[in-house]
Amino acid sequence: MSFGGVKHSFILAIPPVWKYLCKMLTLQTWIVQALFVFLTTESIGGLLDPCGYINPESPVVQLGSNFTAVCVLKEKCMDYFHVNANYIFWKTNHVTVPKEQYTVINRTASSVTFTNISLLNIQLTCNIRTFGQIDQNVYGIRIISGLPPEKPKNLNCIVNEGKKMMCQWAPGRETYLETNFTLKSEWATEKFDDCEAKRDTPTSCTVDYSPVYFVNIEVWVEAENALGKVTSDHINFDPIDKVKPNPPHNLSVSNSEELSSILKLTWIDSSIKTFIRLKYNIQYRTKDASTWSQIPPEDTASTRSSFTVQDLKPFTEYVFRIRCMKADGKGFWSDWSEEASGITYEDRPSKAPSFWYKIEPSHTHGHRSVRLIWKTLPPFQANGNILDYEVTLTRWKSRLQNYSVNDTELTVNLTNDRYIATLTARNLVGKSDASVLTIPACDFQATHPVKDLKAFPKDNVLWVEWTAPNESVNKYVLEWCVLSDKLPCNPDWQQEDGTVHRTYLRAPSKGPTVRTKKVGKNEAVLEWDQLPVDVQNGFIRNYTIFYRTIIGNETAVNVDSSHTEYTLSSLTSDTLYMVRMAAYTDEGGKYGPEFTFTTPKFAQGEIEAIVVPVCLAFLLTTLLGVLFCFNKRDLIKKHIWPNVPDPSKSHIAQWSPHTPPRHNFNPKDQMYSDGNFTDVSVVEIEANDRKPFTEDLKSLELFKKEKISTEGHSSGIGGSSCMSSSRPSISSSDENESAQNTSSTVQYSTVVHSGYRHQVPSVQVFSRSESTQPLLDSEERPEDLQLVDNVEGSDGILPRQQYFKQNCSQHETSPVISHFERSKQGSSVNEEDFVRLKQQQISDHISQSNGSGQMKMFQEVPTANVFGLGTEGQVERFETVGMEAALDEGMPKSYLPQTVRQGGYMPQ
C-alpha cells in the first residue's frame, strides 16, 4: 500500500508536460498495487487457514428439533498448539455451551448437541484453549432456524377480462425462512411457465400468458424453503369460469312520454358477451336516497343490452347502475358501471290543492273582497311542474267566472251572494282534481257550529279537539294564526276529514340541521338547508336559533324563513358553543339536531399582529442596547471589570520621583469620579501651607537620599494599587526612623483619597492597611477612612489635596504607563536612574502631548510644564485654577515626591 503514497506525491511534484508519462506510471503503479494486494490476499489466505472446521457448514434447522455440530481440528494445528479434541469448547452467541452437551468423538473431533432449538439465529463457534489459558477461536458457523412451509390453502384464481390470470392463496404459518412460492399451471397437453410470487406479495401471482378460455387448466402452488417443499391441492378449472367481466358501459336512461312510471336503460356489454351468456344486477334509487333498490335478478338473468324499469314515481329523478357476470353464476361479478340518471315523465297532479278563503273588509256596499288562498302541492303530488292554477267562481244561478293564476292566491270582489269556488292545478300533462269551496253568502249563519273547541299541547304538538255537531260533516277546516306582538295574524289553515273531531296542527316533522360555515374569534356564520317540503307540514314562518355556552344561558335569535344562513356575533373567544335550530310553521316548531363549535382563541392574523410587533420591538431594543453598550463600552468596562493592577508590575519609584508637584486646578479632577485607580500616574502636591519652594528643593534633595531606603522597604508594591502608595513615605508624622520602622512592618500602605464619586472629601486621608494584598477601589471602607482621619486629625493639617491621581481605565495604554513599565526595569533606584527616568518621562510626555490631546493624564500632569516645555494653554489652565505651585517662580529641574503638609512626611 505504500506504493500509493509514493505515487501520489510523485505525481504532484512533476510538471504538466510529463502528465502523459505520469499516467503511464500511474497505470503501472496501480497494476503493481493490484498484484501486491492479490499476493497479499493469497498469503493472508494461507495465514488465515483455520485450525479446524465445523460440520455442517451452513445449517438450517427446524425450530424445536435437535442439532449436532462437529468440530474437527487439523493435525498441524493440534501439533502446533499441543491440543486435541478434549481442548475444544463451544460457544453460542459468545456464551460458552455447558460441557454436558459436548461429545469427544476422537482425538481430532468433538461434537455439540442442542435439543429443541428455539432461537432463530445462533452463532456457534468452536474454540480451543491453548497453553492452558489462551482461548482461540477455531471456526464459526451460523445456525438458521425456521419451519418448513405449510401447504398453501384456499388457492383461487381470477381472470379480469382483458388482463392476465391472477391466483392467490393462503401461505400458512410463518416459516421465519426465505420461502418461495411458485404458481404452476398446465393444460392436459402442455405446461406453462412457472409464476414466481414476488417477495412483497408472497400470496399471489399473476401469470405471464394470456388466458385461453374454454380450455381447462390445472393450477397449484409450491412453497419451498431450506427445510422443505410442499405443494397445494391442484385446482382444475376453465378460465372462463373464473372471469370477472368488464362492467357494462355507456349506461343511459330514457323516459317515456306515454308512461310516467317507467324508465328505459340501455348499455353496451363487454366484448366477452360474444361467447358467453351474461346476467345482470340493476340497482336504482331516487336521487336523494342513499339506499339502492334492485331489480329482481330473475328479470335480468340473460344477456341483454336494455331493460325497462317500471313502477316508478312520475317526475322523479332516479339513479341507476348495473353490473354483470357469467350467466351460470361461475366467476365474479363485474364492478358496478358508471351511474346514470333519468327523470320519469310528468303525470297530472295527483291531488287537488288545499283551498281556503278570507273575506276582507270592503267599503263598497253590496260587495265584499274575498281572498282565495291555496297551498302548493308537494312534488310527489304535483307530478311535474305546476304551470298554473285554474280558479272558477260560480254564483247562484249565474255564469262561470274563470281565472288562471300563477300565484297561490286570488283576490276577487264578490257580491254578498253565495259562491262556489273550484281550484285545479295544471301541469304539462293535465289538471288535478278540483278543490271545491263554498263561500257562503254574507248573511249565512251556521246552524250547527263546532262546539267546545279547545287546544292543548301534547307530545310536542298542539292538539285541537272539538265536539262534532250532530249532523254529518263533509270536512272540517281548522284555521289559526300565531299570536305575536310583532307579527300580524297570518292565518293558516288545515283541512280535516269530516269524521274526525281531534287533530293536531301539523308542525314540521323535522328540524333544520344547522352547521357552521365560518367560525371567527367573536362570531360564527351558521348555515342550514331549507327543509324538504315533505317534512315542512305547512309554511315555514321563521327559524329560531338557540345558542349557548356550557354554563351560559341559552340565547334565541329569530331568523326570517327566507334565510339559510345567519351570523352570530358577540361571541366569546375560545369557547365551546352549542347551537340548535327550530323551524316554525304556524302549527308549531321542531328542533333540529344540536351542533357544537368552538370559537378560536385568536382571530385570523391576530397572532401575527401580536408577535411581529413584539419581535420588532425586541429587535429594536436589542439593537439600541447594543449601540448604547458600544458607545458606553468604556464606562461599562469601568463598572463591570475595572482594571486590577498587577502588583508584580508595581514599583515604588514610579509614582514618586517622576511626577512633578502639581496643583489640582480642576475641581472635577479633584474627585475620583470613577474610583478606578490602577496606576499611579500623578503625584500632585499642593503646598497648602504654602511652603517656600526652596523647601521643596530641599525636600528633593532629602528625598533623593531617603528614597533609597524607602524603596528598599516598599519595593514592588507602592505604585500598583489604586489609592495605594508607600505608606512610609507619607503616612507617618514621625521622623524617618519612624517611617522606616513602619515600612518594615507594613507591606502595603494605602493612600485613600477622600473623594469618591464626585464627593469632595473633607480631609486628605492616608490609610494604613494591614493587608498584604493590593487594595481595590471596592475595598475602601468609610470606617477606615474615618479612622485615618482621626489619626491624622491630630496633626491639625487637613489639606484637601489630591496627592495621587490614579487612572485605571481610560489611559491604560498611555505612554506614561509604558514609561512606567520601562522605569520599573531598575529595581533599585539610585539617583542616576532617577534622573534618567525623569528625562525619559519628559521626552515621552513631549511626544504624547503633541500627539494626543485627549490624554487626560497629561493634561493633569503636565510634566513638561515643569520644565518649561508645556503649551501656553496648559499654563493658562494652571493659572485659572489658582495653582500656587512655584511655576512662576521657576520649577526645579526635578520634582519632589512629597507631601507638603503639617505632620505629614517631610523629607528633611
Binding site: 398446465e186 392436459a188 397437453t189 402442455e190 380450455v215 358467453i276
Partner: protein, 215 residues
C-alpha cells in the same frame, strides 16, 4: 437447402413458439398410447363448441382489421387480392361423424395455427404499428392453441387417436412484401369462411356425438 434453411427453420421456430403458432402435430408417436399431463376434462365438446364460437365471432373482425392494416390496394380489391383460394387447405366434411370431424378440425386448426404464426411474424415486420392487429392475431392464435389442446385431448381420451397427420400451408418467409400480405389476406379470408362452417357443424352435430360416442 437454402430454401429449407430459410423456410423450414423459421417455420419450426414459429410452430414451437407458444404464443405465435399452433402446435402442428400430436406429440405421440404412431404406436404410442395417449398420454396427457393430467386427465382430460369431461366437457371437452362444450368447450370445443365454445371455442369455435369464439373464433367465429372474431374471424370477420380479424379479416377486416388485417386488410385495413395492409392499406391499398387491399381494401378496394378484396375480391382479387383476398379471395379465399388457399391451396392444400385441409378439407372439412360437416356431415361426418364426430371423430372424423374432430380429426379434420384438428388438421384445419393446425394448418391455420401455423399460417397465423407466419402472418403474425410477417405483420410485425410489415406493419409494426398495427398493434390492434397484432393483438387480435395473438389472441386468435392462443384460442387455436387451446382448441388444438381440447381436440387432441378429446381424440385421445375418447377415441384413442394419438396421431393425426397434418399439412401446413406455404411458407411466406421468402416471399416479397406484397405476396406476404396477399397470402395473409387470402388465408384470413379462408379462415373466416371455414370457421363459420365448422362452428355451425359442431353446433348441430351434438346429438350424433352423444348418441354414438364410439363411432
Amino acid at each position: 437447402m437454402k430454401v429449407l434453411a430459410a423456410g423450414v427453420v423459421p417455420l419450426l421456430l414459429v410452430l414451437h413458439w407458444k404464443h405465435g403458432a399452433g402446435s402442428p402435430l400430436p406429440i405421440t408417436p404412431d404406436n404410442a398410447t395417449c398420454a396427457t399431463r393430467h386427465p382430460c376434462h369431461s366437457n371437452l365438446m362444450d368447450q370445443i363448441r365454445n371455442q369455435l364460437v369464439q373464433l367465429n365471432s372474431s374471424a370477420n373482425a380479424l379479416f377486416i382489421l388485417y386488410y385495413t392494416a395492409q392499406g391499398e390496394p387491399f381494401p378496394s380489391n378484396l375480391d382479387k387480392l383476398c379471395r379465399p383460394d388457399v391451396t392444400d387447405f385441409p378439407p372439412f366434411h360437416a356431415n361426418g361423424k364426430e371423430k372424423a370431424r374432430l380429426v379434420e378440425l384438428y388438421r384445419i386448426i393446425a394448418y391455420l395455427g401455423a399460417s397465423l404464426g407466419n402472418i403474425t411474424r410477417d405483420q410485425k415486420v410489415l406493419n409494426p404499428n398495427a398493434l390492434s392487429l397484432h393483438s387480435k392475431l395473438n389472441a386468435t392464435s392462443d384460442t387455436m392453441r387451446g382448441l388444438l389442446s381440447n381436440v387432441l385431448c378429446h381424440l385421445c381420451s375418447k377415441y384413442h387417436v394419438a396421431n393425426v397427420d397434418v399439412a401446413y400451408g406455404p411458407d411466406t418467409s421468402n416471399k416479397d412484401v406484397f405476396q406476404k400480405k396477399k397470402l395473409g389476406c387470402q388465408l384470413l379470408g379462408k379462415y373466416k369462411q371455414v370457421i363459420a362452417v365448422v362452428a355451425q357443424a359442431f353446433q348441430t352435430g351434438d346429438l350424433e356425438a352423444y348418441s354414438d360416442p364410439r363411432s
